[in-house]
Chain length 256, copies 2
């Protein structure tokens, strides 16, 4: 039975996609069977793993609207043991279309039900908003992973995000846990990073991943090659820390 | 007659808020009367200029739903000649509420009509999405300013953004111009920044602002003090470049 992770934070640019791409690749490299689901209309996870959005016949849009089953839209990535349920531009219209549909918050959860057993981990990359697409991910998930960039504005939005998570836990998915906050783009040279990290640890205590992702330019170069960091530059600091995070996530899974 | 600018890009974390806060403050410092409108439910521009979102009686939410006039929600900032129409958390529900309302795309434009004459420039900070709030800003605007972070993923979304701008130009606001793309977080030490900047200049030609915003840690520290950069650290590189951008924007306004 796979563990489903929603990677969510409505603050933009905090490292949701970078984490979805590189954590899923690192879990696959560690021998796990992994599916990554891209429900962000920007489709950055889809292109970050080398797929060409224009060539895709089906996408997560068709699955959410119930036109096809999840299996039909799933594609292999260039990495063994890593599959992807890709996003295309038509996903941009999904939120408005979903609003008036029955069980609109459960569409993704229902779609994943028949494919969950094939994977050890399913990671869902969310858009920078708290709308219906992110609510679908939180309703489908066992755990939510919250990337927090070590900057001031990223702290501000956490209250809003947690209140939506609580709403989902009470009304839609009592099973959902805040498994952890992941500190990203940590720059040891600045006080700001240190202050934000202290603040986050004070508030979230043991729900902060021990692995901290430093700012590393190789991570921002890899997407232009459509590769995860462990393919683009396996010796980089970025590749190391995401593999360290994968080990931490696997150990957590064993506790469940 | 004030010039209305929408600061928009659905890619998250590209510097929309940082530009809204610091360009508006720099325009005010140059003697212009400026209003900054925060229509992002995150409310980062509101707190970035030192307002406490919890203490606000009215906000842009009440204005969009037609409960009050714009004037009633406008507040002075700590800077002379800079006012703000703030956002609060209830704005998060606005998109779903607006969907079923009459002339839903024109709510902001109508709200600004009676106050436009009091300001030389009105800047609107948008959320990281292409939903109804951003469409309201584009419908109300004379010009759109598109911040583009010098990173790969930021390039990818430009096509989608431009097609929404074209849609707004044909159906809602034929007057809207793409005044310019602003390159942000430029890091001269990396090839990536150079490559992205070249790519953007090739595509947008003369519609790229000459001012390029470099990565500057003082810009990311200022928000935690609720201050624009020219108050927090007037001698910093960040303060200099945003004042340079203000001069460029003023010169453009004179051409119109
Ligand atoms: N640790 C890091 N070091 C350096 N650059 C990074 C790091 N993590 C992410 N980036 C870069 O920062 C930018 C933002 O990251 P990313 O796109 O993953 O964030 P996001 O939260 O998915 O954004 P959005 O809110 O738009 O979906 C990207 O250009 C990415 O390449
Ligand atoms: N030139 C810069 N140098 C250094 N840091 C910057 C710069 N511009 C913005 N930042 C920081 O980068 C982060 C993202 O910027 P900002 O919040 O302004 O982007 P945004 O596009 O408004 O994000 P969102 O999509 O969430 O609204 C913030 O923490 C900000 O302080
Ligand atoms: Mg993303
Ligand atoms: Mg912003």
């Amino acid at each position: 039975m796979g563990v489903v992770w929603a990677i969510a934070n409505q603050k933009g640019g905090v490292g949701k996609t970078t984490t979805a791409v590189n954590l899923s690749a690192s879990l696959a490299a560690a021998g796990k069977h992994v599916l990554v689901v891209d429900i962000d209309p920007q489709g950055n996870t889809t292109s970050g793993l080398g797929l060409n959005r224009g060539e895709l016949e089906w996408s997560v849009y068709d699955v959410l609207l119930g036109e096809i089953h999840g299996e039909q839209a799933i594609r292999p990535s260039t990495l063994p043991q890593l599959d992807i349920l890709p996003a295309t531009v038509d996903l941009a219209g999904a939120e408005v279309e979903l609003v008036s549909m029955a069980s609109r918050e459960f569409r993704l959860r229902e779609a994943l039900r028949s494919i969950e057993d094939r994977y050890d981990h399913i990671l869902i990359d969310c858009p920078p908003s708290l709308g219906l697409l992110t609510v679908n991910a939180l309703t489908a998930a066992d755990s939510v992973l919250i990337p927090v960039q070590c900057e001031y504005y990223a702290l501000e939005g956490l209250g809003q995000l947690l209140s939506v998570v609580r709403l989902v836990q009470t009304r839609l998915n009592p099973h959902l846990r805040v498994q952890g906050v992941l500190l990203t783009m940590y720059d040891a040279r600045t006080n700001l990073s240190l202050e934000v990290a202290e603040e986050v640890k004070k508030y979230f205590q043991d729900r902060v991943f021990k692995t901290i992702i430093p700012r590393n330019v190789r991570l921002s170069e890899a997407p232009s090659h459509g590769q995860a960091i462990l393919v683009y530059d396996p010796k980089s600091r970025g590749a190391e820390v995401y593999q360290q995070l994968a080990r931490e996530v696997i150990a957590l899974g064993e506790e469940v």
